[in-house]
């Protein structure tokens, strides 16, 4: 065992990268659930985003166009979910599961000719002299624009929910759709927009895996990150900052266990591989002990019948 083989700077920089797909997916789902909708299709929207982004980036040569396409792809798939649950009032759990299965299958079909292709690389943001600061430079100022976007979105969503009227209306719809309707708010429209936002975020998260983290295309490459994102939203008690903390924790332990494996620690690989899941869930369960309530209308369908 040789722990000195782990470079702490690369380790920290690596876990920021590992956490970013999770941040995107979970943040989108947080907004969706705040509006009172439970979309279990995160995994499906992520993988669709991963292939849409990958294919577009390869064809156009522009990773940024790829990310834009990923967001559009994720949002388009989420529109299917919005149609099922908001218009035809189908069961949200079943629709979400169907969306995941559909997304996994459809992405495999779309991606057939992209297996083994190398995508164009997204350049790091040029921070000039900041990049040369010892320690902080390589950790904080040597990433691509999308990673910073993820962090900025957490701040933006937090501020939107806490300080803006739009955020208040979103929370109100998630809290009691009947009361919101009685006050004249368009429940279905607001929820559809939230679902599309969630789809776009999940798509970005998926593309971050296929274009930056891995970077290549393989079937089912999101490998359960969407489900972790769903759990993360709940254990983070629907709070953006806790969600960020949970995502970093998960990313950090994922990165650490990979490094430990590389360093040949005498713990069976299986235990190392399961450790991020167990530790993240344990920590967030303890954090969520204050029982900050879920949106009261979560998962309930709304129909303006009365």
């Amino acid at each position: 065992m040789d722990l000195s083989a782990i470079n702490p700077l690369l380790f920290v920089a690596g876990f920021l990268v590992a956490a970013t797909p999770l941040i995107f997916a979970a943040l989108g789902e947080l907004v969706v659930e705040k509006s009172g909708v439970l979309n279990l299709g995160v995994e499906g929207m992520m993988i669709i985003g991963a292939i849409c982004g990958f294919a577009t980036a390869v064809e156009t040569g522009s990773p940024l166009l790829g990310f834009a396409a990923a967001a559009v792809g994720g949002a388009a798939l989420s529109l299917l979910f919005a149609f099922l649950t908001q218009i035809t009032l189908a069961n949200q759990v079943a629709s979400g599961l169907a969306l995941t299965l559909f997304g996994l299958g459809f992405s495999a079909l779309l991606g057939q000719s992209y297996v083994g292709v190398k995508p164009p690389r997204l350049a790091e943001v040029n921070f000039g002299p900041l990049h040369d600061i010892p320690v902080l430079g390589p950790i904080l100022f040597s990433h691509d624009i999308i990673l910073y976007l993820g962090f900025a979105m957490v701040v933006a969503v937090w501020a939107m929910l806490k300080f803006t009227r739009a955020g208040l209306i979103l929370r109100a719809v998630g809290e009691s759709h009947d009361a919101a309707h009685a006050l004249g708010y368009k429940v279905v429209r607001i929820r559809t927009l939230a679902i599309m936002f969630g789809g776009a975020c999940a798509g970005l998260g998926g593309a971050y895996i296929s274009l930056i983290r891995v970077p290549q295309w393989t079937e089912g490459m999101t490998a359960g990150v969407g489900w972790i994102a769903l759990a993360l939203v709940v254990f983070a008690s629907w709070k953006p900052w806790r969600l960020l903390l949970g995502a970093y924790l998960f990313g950090g332990i994922t990165q650490l266990q990979l490094n430990l494996q590389g360093a040949g620690v005498a713990i069976p690989v299986e235990y190392l591989a399961m450790s991020p899941y167990i530790i993240t869930i344990l920590v967030l369960v303890v954090l969520s002990a204050d029982k900050s309530a879920a949106p009261a209308s979560l998962g309930r369908n709304f129909h303006a019948s009365s």
Binding site: A172, A180, A182, L183, G184, P295
Partner: protein, 506 residues
């Protein structure tokens, strides 16, 4: 009144599939007038106010505000035109603060800080104490209503619509509300007031319009018309007052000794050392503001919540450890307050719902097999005996109107020949004539030797049917007193007075 009316309705008609909710309804309201809208359940009152508030569009007819045509497409435009509405089922968000709730109901809400100051100003000006930072989920019913009223007042309404505002308030809170309303009316705000409580309407309202089956059947001046006459105009026939024979109560059937229980829900109220006996043939009325232990008491008596040894005795037998089915077998039946989801399963048919509580006492189960024809006959008997208006026992409970479902769930228990019957809010949301028949059925049951506990928010109802009256306050039960001769003030004190009313001297 020669001024231009604030609101004039001409020939409003609105039909839903299978029913005409409003048929050629016309009425006018002058500035500062308090106008009552009366009618039974399903007479079309709610539809009418929803049209004024822009939630429903009329099929034909016109509305004028201040002489100008008025056709709100949505509540937003109605609010902009100066219509405010306080809902029957509060349209509030439990997890949000008072200020956030109020901001949601305003068009151009100021920043929360400025809004909080305005809320404090208005609440002081109108004698409605309210702190803007509190979470609505923690407020009492009276305080929640103040949130709704202040939300309307902040928008400077010309017309305030109030749908059943007093059904959840203590008498003292009603007084405060009326003072506020009179003050508003003196400032020129018109008020459209919907209530089942005719005495309140007589003391508050200047004029009244009476609806029956969607049509206007009369106007009157409430202060010059007796409550009985108004009720008969609503129903369209003479009203029967429940009758009871004077009698001496029999042996003690139910004996509660220092009954204490934790509440199953996080926001509930624990029961604290409740001691009371109920005799055969006696009706014990239990009043109190909602949330003071009513649901918990019902749960403890029904067996949903088990209690300690010796706390609940039925005919000298300790039943505190028995579950609901065992207690039903002995003859202790209960009908909880929440009709949909607690008393009845919303998506199951009336036959299935009859089976759910009637299985034990009506012998609807043989060797684990359900006897559906018998359950169906039982359901039909309830429908006939209690005048439940529904196409048949195959209908889902959800499809019944609130009043009809209430008749069904009460009838279902009454027809099972209970020895002890506990009901919570037996006539909630039920119109005058149906309420009278439910009360009569309860009195008949007591006449037949059953012991009844009636928990209700409606004091008039409790005074009408109880032999003894007690009040729940913070999970404690006051000493029961003979109902006859109790004054409203005494009852108010038993209920713990008004909540948070110390500063409210207008």
């Amino acid at each position: 009144m020669t001024q231009t009316p604030i609101l004039a309705l001409r020939g409003l008609t609105k039909a839903y599939p299978g029913v005409v909710a409003n048929d050629d309804v016309s009425l006018t309201i002058a500035p500062g007038e308090v106008h009552a809208l009366l009618g039974e359940n399903g007479a079309g009152k709610s539809t009418l106010v929803k049209m004024i508030y822009g939630l429903v569009k009329p099929d034909s007819g016109t509305m004028h505000m201040h002489g100008a045509a008025f056709a709100p497409q949505e509540p937003r435009s109605a609010r902009a035109a100066g219509v405010g509405m306080v809902f029957q089922h509060f349209s509030l968000f439990d997890a949000l603060s008072v200020a956030e709730n109020i901001a949601l109901g305003m068009e151009n809400a100021p920043k929360l800080g400025a809004l909080s100051r305005k809320i404090t100003e208005v609440s002081e000006a109108y004698g409605l104490p309210l702190s803007p930072d509190r979470i609505v989920g923690d407020l009492s019913a009276g305080e929640r209503q103040r949130v709704e009223i202040i939300r309307c007042l902040l928008q400077d309404p010309k017309l305030l619509i109030m749908d059943e505002p007093t059904s959840v308030l203590t008498p003292q809170e009603v007084e405060i509300l009326f003072k506020t309303l009179r003050k508003l009316s003196a400032e020129g705000t018109a008020i459209l007031y919907i209530s089942h409580k005719l005495e309140e309407i007589r003391s508050l309202c200047d004029s009244a319009t009476i609806l029956r089956l969607g049509k206007v059947v009369g106007h009157c001046t409430p202060s010059e018309t007796s409550a009985r006459d108004m009720a008969e105009m609503m129903v369209g026939s003479t009203l029967k007052t429940p009758m009871r024979a004077g009698k001496t109560p029999g042996a003690v059937l139910l004996d509660l000794q220092r009954l204490s229980a934790k509440s199953p829900s996080a926001f509930g109220m624990p029961l604290r050392e409740i001691t009371v006996q109920v005799r055969a043939g006696e009706v014990l009325g239990i009043g109190g503001v909602a949330g003071n232990g009513q649901d918990e008491l019902l749960a403890a008596l029904s067996g949903e919540q088990l209690s300690g040894a010796g706390m609940i005795r039925f005919k000298d037998r300790d039943v505190g450890q028995l579950g609901p089915t065992a207690r039903r077998g002995l003859g202790i039946l209960t009908a909880p307050e929440e009709r949909l989801g607690h008393a009845a399963a919303p998506d199951m048919t009336l036959t299935e719902n009859a089976m759910l509580t009637g299985a034990v006492r009506e012998n609807l189960v043989r060797g684990g097999m359900l006897n559906w024809p018998a359950a169906r006959r039982f359901a039909e008997r309830i429908i006939n005996d209690f005048d439940v208006r529904t196409p048949g026992p195959g209908n889902a409970a959800r499809a019944l109107s609130g009043g009809n479902l209430q008749k069904f769930v009460i009838g279902r228990e009454v027809l099972q020949r209970p020895e002890v019957l506990v009901v919570n809010q037996p006539t909630w949301g039920v119109d005058a004539s149906a309420a009278a028949s439910i009360r009569q059925a309860l009195l008949d049951l007591a006449e037949g030797g059953a012991a009844l506990i009636v928990i209700s928010q409606d004091l008039d109802e409790l005074m009408e049917i109880s032999d003894r009256f007690a009040a729940l306050n913070e999970g404690r039960l006051s000493e029961p007193r003979p109902a006859q001769g109790l004054t409203v003030d005494e009852i108010g004190l038993m209920m713990g007075g008004a909540h948070g009313m110390e500063v409210a001297h207008v």
